[in-house]
């Protein structure tokens, strides 16, 4: 029995008591998957898992509040579920978690860089144990999955769902890289270089809020202060300063809560490397509060509480 068969069996056993189970199915072309809302056994037949199943389905949970749903999660996704539960935004009783032992997912950006033609021209894809055979614009190319894995997978230390009602697949012993080269290189740049980078990058931001809406921790959604008119935090004008202001709002509101699922960067239609900001913020949270969001249940996010004596905050003698 394959991992997918085991998953289907597990879902079948609970489908009757749930509004739906959120999983993935084949998307608009052979290189893409898309979320699937399973309500019947016919729907269940379309379920897929694997390296194309990149979407963090936890982002839908708060939209099903009050109803009992099931959700299929990879290790990183389970962190988002845990964080939502820790913040009492989702009740453990309302979710049946089908946890996967994940072998990693792809980065469409890396696939694009590795193929001889743009993946928009893909004709067929064969997913192997550790390879991806892609035919694009009439040319065949075999990519090693390890080469096109998403950045978050390279540094992942929770490949298997941390909390679940069913844990499906072979357990891993994670051996993550200590850090990402691109993150280290960026952090090493001078202030002026980083500033110029964000100036230019925010110049192409169109403030579509795909990053915000894809984020599982962003629950204010329709009432987000970035789109509030009264008080007005951010102008409608599409200036780099306003676009950067929005990023500052997002990252500040994620401090201590971001589970580094990377959906924001994946969702961005103009490929802005948003994770540079969030990984850095998470480093500070780790450093000051020794906390990583979504790693264990019953934890309080550090910015929702305080200690009278803070070990790692210098009280700034002047």
């Amino acid at each position: 029995m394959s991992q997918l068969d085991d998953l289907k069996t597990a879902i079948k056993s609970r489908l009757g008591e749930l509004e739906c189970v959120i999983g993935w199915e084949q998307g608009y072309d052979p290189l893409h998957a898309t979320p699937l809302f399973i309500r019947s056994e016919a729907d269940l037949d379309r379920l897929i898992i694997g390296p194309l199943a990149v979407h963090n389905l936890a982002t839908y949970l708060t939209g099903w509040k009050g109803k009992k749903v099931g959700v299929v999660v990879k290790g990183c996704d389970s962190r988002s579920v845990i964080e939502l539960m820790n913040e009492k935004l989702v009740s453990r009783d309302d979710v049946v978690i089908f946890g996967l032992c994940c072998d990693g997912v792809v980065s469409q950006r890396k696939i694009r860089a590795a193929l001889p033609a743009d993946p928009g021209f893909v004709e067929s894809v064969e997913i192997g144990a550790d390879s991806l055979k892609v035919t694009v614009a009439g040319q065949a190319a075999t990519l090693r999955l390890a080469d096109v894995q998403a950045d978050k997978c390279l540094v992942c230390d929770t490949p298997d769902a941390i909390v679940s009602d069913f844990l499906i697949g072979k357990a891993h012993t994670p051996a993550p890289a200590p850090s990402l080269k691109c993150q280290d290189e960026f952090e090493a740049k001078s202030d002026a270089e980083k500033f110029a980078f964000w100036q230019e990058t925010m110049g192409r931001c169109i403030r579509c809020y795909a990053c915000r809406n894809a984020c599982p921790m962003c629950v204010c959604r329709d009432y987000c202060i970035a789109t509030s008119r009264d008080p007005l935090w951010v102008s409608q004008e599409n200036l780099p300063s306003e676009n950067m202001m929005f990023q500052m709002i997002h990252v500040s509101h994620l401090a201590g809560r971001c589970t580094e699922c990377g959906e924001c960067e994946r969702a961005c239609p103009v490929d802005i490397p948003l994770m540079l900001l969030r990984r850095y913020m998470n480093k500070q949270v780790r450093d000051v509060f020794k906390h990583e969001a979504g790693k264990a249940l019953d934890q309080t996010p550090p910015l929702l509480t305080f200690k009278v004596e803070e070990e790692r905050i210098n009280e700034r003698g002047w």
């Binding site: 500033f195 110029a196 110049g203 780099p240 306003e242 500040s252 850095y280 500070q284 905050i313 002047w318």
Partner: protein, 167 residues
């Protein structure tokens, strides 16, 4: 630029009503001279300060932002500044990744009786901001500046994790 320079830079201050604002008052009553760049906004407690106030001020063109509250364990509302300490520390540590010089933002604790300390804080901070000079804006001043960055990006420069696409 020395602090005695005639030109004022724009420094915004968020002071808690009970301790720091009182401390600034004490400094005034005692006639302690300070540079006049700092413009104060009074808030009831440092815990009321959303870190985004500081960010918004910096994005709007402030050259420096100073936050001051009661000493931790002495908050007029008991706990406000404990939260403030955590939030403001995270903001200070976050600024470097954006390219904004984190020395442009400072938070400190000044009590109502510490008039002389307030004078020292303001003078020091203003001197530091003058040394850093006016803050750069995220909005390029002209089309020319903007385009210089875009040309470099099109050539594949500066991008940390994405390769450039062949033309």
């Amino acid at each position: 630029m020395p602090a005695q320079d005639v030109r004022e830079l724009r420094i915004v201050g968020f002071l808690c009503n009970w301790c720091s604002y009182g401390g600034a008052d004490t400094a005034g009553v005692g006639r302690f001279t300070q540079p006049t760049d700092l413009r104060i906004i009074r808030v009831p407690c440092s815990g009321r300060i959303d870190p985004l106030f500081i960010v918004r001020a910096l994005m709007n063109g402030a050259d420096g932002v100073l936050v001051s509250g009661c000493h931790p364990r002495d908050c007029h509302y008991a706990e406000g500044n404990f939260y403030a300490r955590r939030r403001l520390e995270m903001l200070k540590r976050f600024l470097p990744i954006t390219g904004i010089d984190e020395r442009r933002f400072e938070y400190t604790w000044v009590s109502a009786s510490e008039g002389q300390r307030w004078q020292h804080v303001v003078t020091e901070f203003t001197r530091r901001i003058h040394e850093l000079g006016p803050a750069p804006s995220f909005n390029p001043k002209s089309d020319v500046d903007w385009n210089a960055l875009a040309v470099k990006a099109s050539q594949g420069q500066g991008c940390p994790c994405h390769g450039s696409i062949q033309a």
